[in-house]
């Protein structure tokens, strides 16, 4: 078993716990923006896609990497954009009057 696996597992478990505790505290009011925001954060796979695409090892890996860059970057851009749009719509009664 590679040593990296163990350190990755530590990180995974700790991040999972942090995520669990944080998400539990998110108001149900904001569950839709929560989903679009975590989706945009998850689109960080774009960094792996950029590396696969830019290392230019084989025609196949470059092509697959290119598709992955487009798919994940569209999630990143669209996810942040729509989350902010939704959150701008939430106004409290006090702020309005």
């Amino acid at each position: 078993m590679p040593p990296d696996f163990i350190s990755n597992l530590y990180v995974f478990i700790l991040a999972g716990f942090v995520g669990f505790e944080l998400i539990k505290r998110v108001s149900p009011l904001l569950h839709t923006p929560l989903m679009s925001l975590t989706n945009a954060l998850d689109a960080i796979v774009v960094v792996a896609a950029i590396i696969i695409c830019g290392r230019h090892e084989t025609a196949l890996s470059t092509t697959l990497g290119a598709i992955a860059v487009a798919a994940s970057f569209s999630n990143m851009v669209g996810g942040f954009f729509i989350t902010d749009r939704m959150l701008r719509m939430f106004k409290s009664g006090k702020a309005k009057s």
Binding site: F12, F17, L30, P33
Partner: protein, 462 residues
């Protein structure tokens, strides 16, 4: 700068990104700080992407630049969709996320052949299977939500056995590959079987179960990204994937609890396909109906009103008219609040976003647990396009398919008014005894048209 020093700078950039990810979710917890959370996430993403572009392994930038532009060109319109289309947009983004995780895993495998170790193959196999099934499953979910595909559960005899056999086949192929990793001709077979399983997994699930399914697909998409982090030894992916995965998981648990059902039941139960008429005896029960004029008079005589919105409000695009009704009643000094059931609509929080879009203040949107205690002091509850979430059979009728599901206790209010097209049972095909109560008035018609008429009556000075 030498390569090792460069690598360390990149690691620091990724650590900063990870801290900002966690802050982003923390700040999202309340509406007051939520937009700051988005900003933190955007900064994190910008840092991580910029740092990656300085990675010394990169030798060719042409395709990176072109595909980043294509990605932005797809992402911006997907960020501008109407609020009623948010569930299908979300399903589509799960599909994109899973697609990129899966194909990066595939690329990594073919770059590694013929030197892929068994351990690497195990990681890649699991990652690619989850990513592939999430991709097709999310596409099917998006198709159902967009109504390209029928929303009703599509089922056949022996379905679960077929689905599980296909999943078993994908896993068996993965095991064969782990035993002997460098079989590049066998790898695509595993991918295709996993893609096929994703279709089988979501096709039988009905529209009313979409909040749970979307959350579950969210969770799978996150975990496939985390697994990709293991494959590539990238901690930033492990953290982002773990956060997204646990978020989807927590939401799925909340959705299942709100329907009093288990994961297994949602995934394999094909809710609402053929409902034998529950209760059995169908005596001729009377319903009372009312006109918009009468409904307006009843609302104006009330001092406390609770509006219960459901998917029908979204379908009829009635949220703006509902806001006008809210404004009209509030101006007359009537206390109007909205009761939000966790599974109302097609995704978690769907109703809140629609009503926020229509400018209803969010402090008027009350969660089920918080409003149920007040229902007996409520003069009028007005149900717009919701059905099962108000069905008192869930409390009392042990033979009902929704028995045990927590509901909004509208039947405890003094008067109940239900806007509904006809007496046809709702989406899940379950009869609702609420409609036959003495205190219930049925308002037959299209949600938007009926609310418009009530608003006219109220503003014409009663």
């Amino acid at each position: 700068m030498n390569l090792i020093a460069m690598q360390q700078y990149l690691d620091f950039a990724f650590i900063a990104a990870v801290v900002l990810f966690i802050l982003a979710i923390k700040w999202l917890s309340s509406p007051a700080t939520a937009r700051r959370g988005v900003l933190a996430g955007e900064i994190a993403a910008a840092i991580a992407v910029t740092a990656t572009l300085f990675n010394p392994d990169l030798v060719q930038f042409k395709w990176i630049i072109i595909t980043l532009i294509i990605g932005a060109a797809i992402g911006i319109p997907l960020g501008m969709v109407k609020m009623t289309a948010v569930p299908q947009r979300t399903a589509l983004s799960h599909a994109f996320g899973a697609l990129s995780a899966a194909i990066i895993g595939i690329a990594e495998y073919y770059v590694g052949v013929p030197h892929v170790t068994r351990f690497e193959m195990g990681e890649i196999g699991l990652e690619v299977i989850i990513g592939s099934l999430t991709f097709t499953g999310s596409l099917i979910a998006a198709g159902k939500l967009q109504e390209i595909l029928p929303q009703r559960p599509i089922t056949y005899k022996g379905q679960n056995i077929v689905s599980l056999t296909v999943l078993g086949a994908a896993l068996a192929l993965a095991v064969v590959l782990v035993v002997n990793p460098n079989q590049p001709y066998l790898f695509p077979a595993m991918v295709i079987v996993a893609l096929f399983f994703g279709i089988l997994l979501v096709t039988p699930i009905g529209g009313a179960d979409m909040p749970t399914v979307i959350s579950l697909l969210n969770s799978y998409a996150g975990f496939s990204a985390a697994l990709l982090g293991f494959v590539l030894n990238s901690k930033v992916l492990v953290v982002a994937g773990a956060l997204d995965g646990s978020s989807g998981f927590v939401l799925s648990v909340i959705m299942c609890k709100a329907m009093n059902r288990s994961f297994a039941n949602v995934m394999f139960g094909a809710f609402g396909q053929v409902q034998a008429s529950s209760g059995g005896v169908k005596e001729d029960r009377v319903v009372r109906s009312a006109s918009a004029e009468e409904a307006a008079a009843i609302l104006l005589a009330a001092s406390k009103v609770v509006i219960v919105p459901g998917y029908g409000m979204a379908v009829a695009q009635a949220q703006h008219k509902v806001r006008e009704l809210y404004d009209g009643l509030t101006k007359k000094g009537i206390d109007v609040r909205f009761a939000i059931h966790p599974v109302a609509g097609r995704m978690p929080g769907h109703m809140n976003v629609l009503l926020a879009e229509a400018d209803v203040p969010y402090d008027r949107l009350i969660e089920m647990e918080d409003i149920n205690g007040d229902m007996s002091q409520t003069d009028v509850s007005l149900i717009i396009g919701a059905n099962d979430v108000t069905n008192p059979a869930a409390r009392s009728d042990t033979s009902s398919p929704i028995y045990g599901m927590p509901i909004i206790d509208v039947d405890k209010s003094h008067t109940v008014m239900v806007i509904k097209r006809s007496m046809n049972p709702g989406f899940a095909g379950i009869d609702n005894p609420l409609y036959y109560l003495d205190r219930t008035l049925m308002l037959f018609g299209d949600a938007k048209a009926f609310v418009t008429n009530i608003v006219k009556e109220i503003s014409s000075g009663h």
